[in-house]
Structure formats: structure tokens, C-alpha cells
């Protein structure tokens, strides 16, 4: 990532972090015109932490 892009990204995220501590989606103030459905990073990552590998021997405990 170039320095200028990195600065832009940093600034954008800092703005988001500063304006929204915890926000419900209803209150999102992100502007719609930024949406370009052909060039979005639409990654979604489920947090699959349903078992802690170190806690598998659970019958005795």
C-alpha cells in the first residue's frame, strides 16, 4: 500500500472510530454514494470459536 493510500485509509478508519463507539446499524452515517458494487471488498468472516482446542477433554470437568 502506498503511503498516500495508507494515510487515506488511516484517516477514514479513524473517523469511523471517533464517530461511532458502538453503533446500531440503523444509525449508520456512511454515505451511499461510496457504493460501487463492482469494486467492493465484500469479505465476511464468521468467528468460529465454538471450541477452545485446549478445552476438549471436558468430560471430567
Amino acid at each position: 500500500m502506498s503511503q498516500s493510500k495508507k494515510d487515506q485509509a488511516t484517516e477514514s478508519a479513524q473517523t469511523a472510530a471517533e464517530t461511532q463507539a458502538t453503533q446500531a446499524i440503523q444509525g449508520s452515517d456512511l454515505v451511499e454514494e461510496l457504493l460501487d458494487l463492482d469494486h467492493l471488498d465484500l469479505s465476511v468472516e464468521a468467528i468460529d470459536e465454538r471450541i477452545s482446542p485446549s478445552e476438549t477433554n471436558v468430560f471430567d470437568k
Binding site: 461511532q20 463492482d38 465454538r50 471450541i51 468430560f59
Partner: protein, 763 residues
């Protein structure tokens, strides 16, 4: 006039929360039989879980997190170092989950305790809420962690000065405040003459000594004693630790019935000299310096004459299960007693003793009628072949009408097809066999006395009779190679569906096992930690085979594969496996293991079907937090073997020396990486989105629906359409997006799937 002599028997936190423990009901019944008529049993583990998972306590925890770990602390941090990751995670999660958990926790507990338990779509979110609630409690006491299966602090369990320091840590030890506010007032009012604690797990050590210290300070005349499996290992060392006499007056080793009776009789008679109480180690407070006196061992009781355990004091309705599963000990010790790695027969007490099948049946009938339950967990290392035949016959003859589960040893003659069917007919629904490894060379070294062929036969016979089979397996036995561990994995894989669950454990050496006493036989060199005065478990170096670190890596590989091949380990179905009796209760209600496995597979594989003509909306109520670092990346780092080594070991409570420094040096900080963490307050799950994904979700929300948004504009390229379809499919699966309303959506976005064919819940 009769002297009042109240006795309180306490099970200290932490034990699991699905069913009561057995030791104290056995002791109460024994003491009552001996004439002590004021014996109180309390399970402070379930009481604490219930209290911590209450709206008031969770609010207290949330406030404490905000005070101790404000998330703003990391607002200007460019990269998040490993040392900060645990605290950051606790702060982040707590902020997102607390309001929902405070509102929902009582309903979640009620669901698990009621008929809703049997509906997986209700049960899984409720159990997740309980897990998240405990994460909130833990964050409040960071870095302490209370989970459904463990309690650990920053203090090492194998150093007495750390353990004793933990007992007075008001900030990080949640039990100081809990005991002082919730438990001590009642005990002060009751003024027990003897308070006995059952400490069977390492996770109970700090809470037990915390309570002992508070009792000794408030009621100096109360004799505080403790016993149980974990103390049988380390008790002799613990009683020599400087300062331990502020928490305890004595300790009972091995079986508790006879020593506790003798101790109570001596104290009731006003005796200060306790030297006649067998199996007791005690502080002689009549002497200067309170010297520690170790009495000779006493005789074990005649088990067949022991009375029916008395569960009457326990709050059976508070356990996190819809129906109570009562533990009952059919024997004590192990009739085989040869396995080189196993030390349980040593700590339980001398010799092997059993009750007769008729006595067991009689006691079971009495417990069944007394507590209106037909579910039992028979506590045994293993049943000898004769009992495998006699007990089912006695239960059938007495029309016990119960269901039960227990541990077992592979006995091919006893678990033949006929024997397995007889067990099923007598209510056996699940057996857990000590399998360990598929390598004959290692089985011989372990002195396991079983062949792979016999394992296969027994597993098949039991499975075909309808009994669910669990295998205990081990990785990292001295000299085991990666190839041999993979052979074990392959054997288990080939044994599906006969095998339903695997309880995998990395090998540990404790000071009682043959592997510690005769290390040269196993080609290992034992490492000592001179600073660990309570050391029970030891690291070792092996001449051949995997190192301990390599065994930990192999453990990960095996668990990953189990999640792929064992239905009950798939997806969120794993929560059934994680809770002691929960899967069993489904079997007890009439579900066949095949049907349960099929339901697990269907649950793990299903997407969310989108009915034709249905539109899609954003699930209301989602809570989100913009992040400067990826939560998922942080979790991955925290789960790295190096990071886990920096936490106390699950089984042993030990810290690996220098692990913190090594982890900090080797694990990369989380870089600046803008993300949004979404918490689903219905499913109680987290989903991490890219900033763009979050924007799109917001756009759908503002447009009213996906259809409304796409009516205005959609992706123009094939790649854009594929990305959108993937996004929608995943968020539908995660229920972040839900079908609602009608609209003909473009075909390219539709992850339309047929509903999975989930079998009927119960036969």
C-alpha cells in the same frame, strides 16, 4: 442435652455446571448414618455460576470492565502487540455484548433448564449466551478466566506463594467478593464446627483456599478441612507451604468417609489431639508454630455398606440441564490398574472395591423415586466383566426404567453383541472407552492390555446395540511419532460412525505415574522446576518421537480433522459435546445416535433457504463496533500454541516458563486493519466484516431491503455479481440477513437452497 454440631460440606468453584457432583452427598449420607444429624451440603460452583450469570452481576462486570479496560486505551495504537491482545479482546467483546446479555441471560438459563433445551435452534444460542456471559465476567477480572470448564488466574497453581497471593487478590479473584458478600454471612449465622471442602480439580484450588481463609478469619473456632482427588496429588506439599495454615486446619487424603467421621467425632468430643484420625494431616495448634502432623492412613470403608448418597441439600433445579443426571459410584478404584499413564487408582485410595449389583439397583431405585429422575451417570473407572453382565440384569429385573452413561474399559468378551444389547436394554445410552492410541507398540508400552481388534469389536457391538461410543485418545505419549499419531487419527476416522465422540488429550506426566517413576523405561528425561513447590506435572525431553511442542501441534491437526469427520464436532454442534450430560439427555429421551449425528450434519451444512420470490432484509438489532485491528486475526494469534503456552494449561494449571516472553517475541502484533465487528444479539455470535461489507449492509438497511437497493443499481460485472452472491449467501447463513417481504431478486445473487432434511427430533 445434645450438643449442637453443625457440619458444612462445600464443593468450591469451579466444576462444570450441568449436573451435581457425588463426593459430598456420599459424605453427608455417611455422617448421618454415623449419627451426625446437622450436615449441610452446598455446591458453591453452581451457586457462583448462577449468581455470576445474573443481570445484576453482569452489570457489575460490565461497569468493572469499563473501569479497568476502557477500549479507548487502544484508540491511538497503530499496531496491537501480543501482550495487549487479551485485554483488548475482553474490552471489545464486553462493550458489544453486555447490554444484550444483561437483558437475556435469565431467559437463556431458563431455556437450557427447560424443554427448549431439546430444540437445537434455541439451545445453541442460549449456550452461547452463557459462554459470552462468562467471557464478560472474565473480562471484569482480567486476566483471570472463568469458563464452563475451567478457572485460571495469572497465578501459577504449582507455586504456593502464588496460590496464596491469589486468595487475597480482590481485583482479579472474583470469588473474594462473591464469598464475602454471598456466602460468608450465611455460614457465620450457621457457625459450622467443621467445614469440609471437596477439591477434585486444580481449578478449585484457589477458590477453595480463598474460602478457607475467609472462614478462618471470621470463624476461628470452625475446623476447616479439605480433601478430594486433586489434593490427593499435591496435598502433602501444600500442607508444608508457609502460610497455608491461615486457610486450612487439616487435610484428608483419599477416601473421605472414615477420616471425616473420625475427625468430627474427635472435635465433637473436644479433643485437640487429632493424631488418631486416620489419613489426616493437620496443624497442631496447641503447639508453638502449629507443626504439621501427618497421621498414618486409615482403612477404606466397605463400599457395599455405604448408604445411598444424599443429594437433598443440592439445588438440583439450578444446574444448567433440563433434567437432573445423578452421579452414582458403582465401584471405587480400578480392577485393572496397570495403565502406565494413569494415576487415578492411586489417588482415589487403596485397592479396588465395588458395590454389589443388587445394592446398586436398590440405591438407584431409591434415588430415582426420591428425586424423580431416571437419568444416571455411573461413576467408575471401568466396570469389571462380571458387573457388565450383573448390573444390567439387576436393573432389568428391578424394572429400574432408567438411562445411564459411564466410563468403560475395552472388555471384548463382556461387550459382545449380546452383552451390548443387554446393556442397552438396561438403559445404557453412552459408554466412554479408554482407547488412547491405534499403535500396538504404544499400547504395549502403556500396559493397556487391549488390542485394536478388540477395540473395533467392542465399539461395533455397542454402536449396533444403539449405545453411543466415545473414545478417550491421547497424543504425545513418550516416543510417539507424528506418523503414529496420524495412524490414530486414521483409525478413528475409519471407525465413524461407530465412534461418535473423541476426548483427545495431550500426554502429561504427573509425579504418581509410572512414566515419572521409571522414566528410563520410556526413553525420557524428566525436567524439574525447583521453584514449583507444588509441582505435580513435569515437562520432559524424549530421546525419540515428538517433542511436547510437536505433540501440541499434532493435537491441533487431529482436532481439526475431528471437526470434519465427527458429526457432533461439526459447526456449532460441538456445544453438545462440550457439556457433560447434554448429548446424553437427547439419547435418554429416545433419540438414536444416528439421528442425532444426522441432525448435527444437517445443522452444520445448511444454508438459509431463500423462498422463491422472497426479498432480504438486515436482521434488526445488530450491534457493531468499528475496529482498528482485525478481531479475527487477534483470535488466531491468541489461539497460536505459543500464545496458549502463555496461559495456564487447561489440565494442569501450570505456566510454561518464559512463555510470555517467547510469545511476545515470536507472535506478530495485529497491524492497523480497519474492520467492523458485528454482534448478533439473537444468535450471540460475532461476525467480522470488511469496511465495504459494512457499508453495503448499511445501504441495504437504508434502502429497506436488498431488492429495493438492487432496483436502483447493481453490479455490472460478473466478478461483482459473484462477490455479491457470496456476501449474501454467507450473511444469510449467519442470519445477519433474513428473508422478509416479497421481491423477484436477480438470479445471480440468489443462494437458494433447499431446506436440509433434518430428522425428527426424537424417535
Amino acid at each position: 442435652m445434645k450438643t449442637r454440631f453443625p457440619i458444612s460440606l462445600i464443593f468450591p468453584p469451579q466444576g462444570h455446571f450441568t449436573q451435581p457432583y457425588l463426593a459430598l452427598p456420599c459424605l453427608k449420607a455417611w455422617l448421618q448414618q454415623a449419627g451426625f444429624d446437622d450436615v449441610q451440603v452446598r455446591d458453591l460452583s453452581i451457586e457462583a455460576y448462577d449468581q455470576f450469570l445474573s443481570p445484576a452481576y453482569l452489570q457489575y462486570a460490565a461497569d468493572k470492565v469499563q473501569d479497568r479496560l476502557p477500549l479507548e486505551r487502544w484508540d491511538t495504537v497503530e499496531s496491537l502487540p501480543f501482550a495487549d491482545m487479551g485485554a483488548w479482546r475482553g474490552a471489545l467483546e464486553s462493550g458489544l455484548t453486555a447490554p444484550t446479555l444483561i437483558a437475556d441471560i435469565e431467559a437463556s438459563k431458563a431455556l437450557v433448564r427447560g424443554e427448549g433445551f431439546y430444540d437445537a435452534d434455541a439451545y445453541i444460542p442460549a449456550m452461547r449466551a452463557i459462554y459470552q456471559g462468562l467471557r464478560l465476567v472474565s473480562a471484569a477480572h482480567f486476566p483471570s478466566e472463568l469458563t464452563p470448564h475451567n478457572f485460571t488466574m495469572r497465578y501459577a497453581n504449582d507455586r504456593s506463594h502464588e496460590v496464596l497471593a491469589a486468595t487475597v487478590d480482590e481485583v482479579e479473584n472474583p470469588f473474594v467478593r462473591y464469598f464475602r458478600q454471598e456466602i460468608l454471612p450465611g455460614l457465620i449465622e450457621r457457625r459450622p464446627r467443621v467445614l469440609g471442602m471437596s477439591v477434585i480439580y486444580g481449578s478449585q484450588l484457589i477458590p477453595a483456599l480463598t474460602l478457607g481463609r475467609l472462614i478462618k478469619a471470621a470463624l476461628p473456632e470452625c475446623h476447616v478441612t479439605a480433601g478430594g482427588g486433586f489434593l490427593a496429588y499435591i496435598g502433602a506439599k501444600l500442607m508444608q507451604a508457609p502460610g497455608i495454615d491461615a486457610c486450612l486446619d487439616s487435610m484428608i487424603f483419599h477416601e473421605g468417609e472414615a477420616p471425616l467421621q473420625a475427625l468430627c467425632e474427635a472435635l465433637r468430643a473436644g479433643e485437640q489431639d487429632l493424631s488418631r484420625v486416620g489419613s489426616l494431616t493437620w496443624f497442631d495448634r496447641s503447639q508453638a508454630g502449629h507443626p504439621c502432623v501427618e497421621n498414618p492412613p486409615g482403612h477404606p470403608v466397605h463400599l457395599n455398606k455405604a448408604p445411598v448418597p444424599d443429594f437433598s441439600d443440592l439445588p438440583l433445579e439450578r444446574y444448567f440441564s433440563p433434567e437432573v443426571v445423578l452421579p452414582y459410584d458403582i465401584n471405587r478404584g480400578c480392577y485393572y490398574g496397570e495403565c502406565a499413564f494413569c494415576t487415578l487408582p492411586t489417588v482415589i485410595g487403596p485397592g479396588y472395591r465395588t458395590r454389589s449389583a443388587d445394592t446398586i439397583a436398590s440405591h438407584v431405585l431409591e434415588l430415582r423415586d426420591r428425586h424423580q429422575t431416571t437419568h444416571f451417570n455411573f461413576i467408575t473407572d471401568c466396570m469389571p466383566p462380571g458387573m457388565i453382565r450383573d448390573l444390567p440384569e439387576a436393573l432389568i429385573e428391578n424394572q429400574a426404567g432408567i438411562t445411564w452413561w459411564s466410563d468403560a474399559r475395552v472388555e471384548p468378551k463382556a461387550y459382545d453383541a449380546e452383552g451390548a444389547q443387554r446393556l442397552f436394554d438396561a438403559g445404557c445410552r453412552k459408554l466412554l472407552f479408554g482407547f488412547e492410541t491405534a499403535t500396538p507398540r504404544l499400547l504395549k508400552m502403556m500396559k493397556k492390555g487391549q488390542s485394536l481388534r478388540s477395540v473395533s469389536e467392542v465399539v461395533k457391538n455397542c454402536a449396533e446395540a444403539g449405545i453411543s461410543v466415545t473414545l478417550y485418545a491421547m497424543v504425545g505419549f513418550p516416543s510417539e511419532t507424528r506418523e503414529e499419531a496420524r495412524a490414530t487419527l486414521q483409525y478413528i476416522e475409519d471407525s465413524v460412525p461407530y465412534v461418535r465422540e473423541v476426548s483427545l488429550q495431550t500426554f502429561h506426566i504427573d509425579e504418581v505415574a509410572l512414566t515419572y517413576r521409571e522414566p528410563e523405561r520410556f526413553g525420557i528425561r524428566i525436567l524439574d522446576d525447583p521453584e514449583a513447590d507444588l509441582q505435580l506435572y513435569h515437562d520432559y525431553e524424549s530421546e525419540v518421537g515428538m517433542t511436547q511442542g510437536e505433540a501440541a501441534e499434532m493435537f491441533e491437526e487431529m482436532m481439526t480433522r475431528f471437526a470434519e469427520v465427527l458429526p457432533i464436532f461439526s459447526g456449532d454442534s460441538i456445544l453438545y459435546f462440550m457439556q457433560k450430560s447434554h448429548y446424553f439427555l437427547h439419547l435418554a429421551k429416545g433419540m438414536h445416535p444416528d439421528a442425532f449425528a444426522a441432525a448435527c450434519v444437517a445443522r452444520a451444512e445448511r444454508g438459509t433457504p431463500l423462498p422463491a420470490g422472497s426479498d432480504v432484509r438486515v436482521r434488526p438489532g445488530l450491534v457493531a463496533q468499528p475496529l482498528r485491528h482485525s478481531y479475527r486475526r487477534v483470535l488466531r494469534t491468541l489461539h497460536d500454541p505459543l500464545a496458549r503456552a502463555a496461559r495456564p494449561d487447561f489440565l494442569t494449571g501450570r505456566y510454561v516458563g518464559e512463555a510470555d516472553r517467547i510469545a511476545a517475541e515470536n507472535l506478530s502484533p495485529a497491524p492497523y486493519e480497519p474492520r467492523v465487528l458485528v454482534y448478533d444479539p439473537v444468535q450471540h455470535e460475532f461476525v467480522e466484516l470488511s469496511a465495504d461489507s459494512w457499508k453495503l449492509l448499511g445501504a441495504i438497511e437504508r434502502a429497506g431491503s436488498l431488492g429495493a437497493l438492487l432496483a436502483k443499481s447493481g453490479p455490472q460485472t460478473a466478478a461483482g455479481r459473484r462477490a455479491l452472491a457470496g456476501f449474501l449467501g454467507e450473511l444469510l447463513r449467519l442470519r445477519i440477513l433474513v428473508p422478509e417481504g416479497t421481491m423477484e431478486l436477480p438470479d445471480y445473487v440468489l443462494p437458494r437452497q433447499e431446506p436440509a432434511n433434518v430428522p425428527a427430533t426424537h424417535a
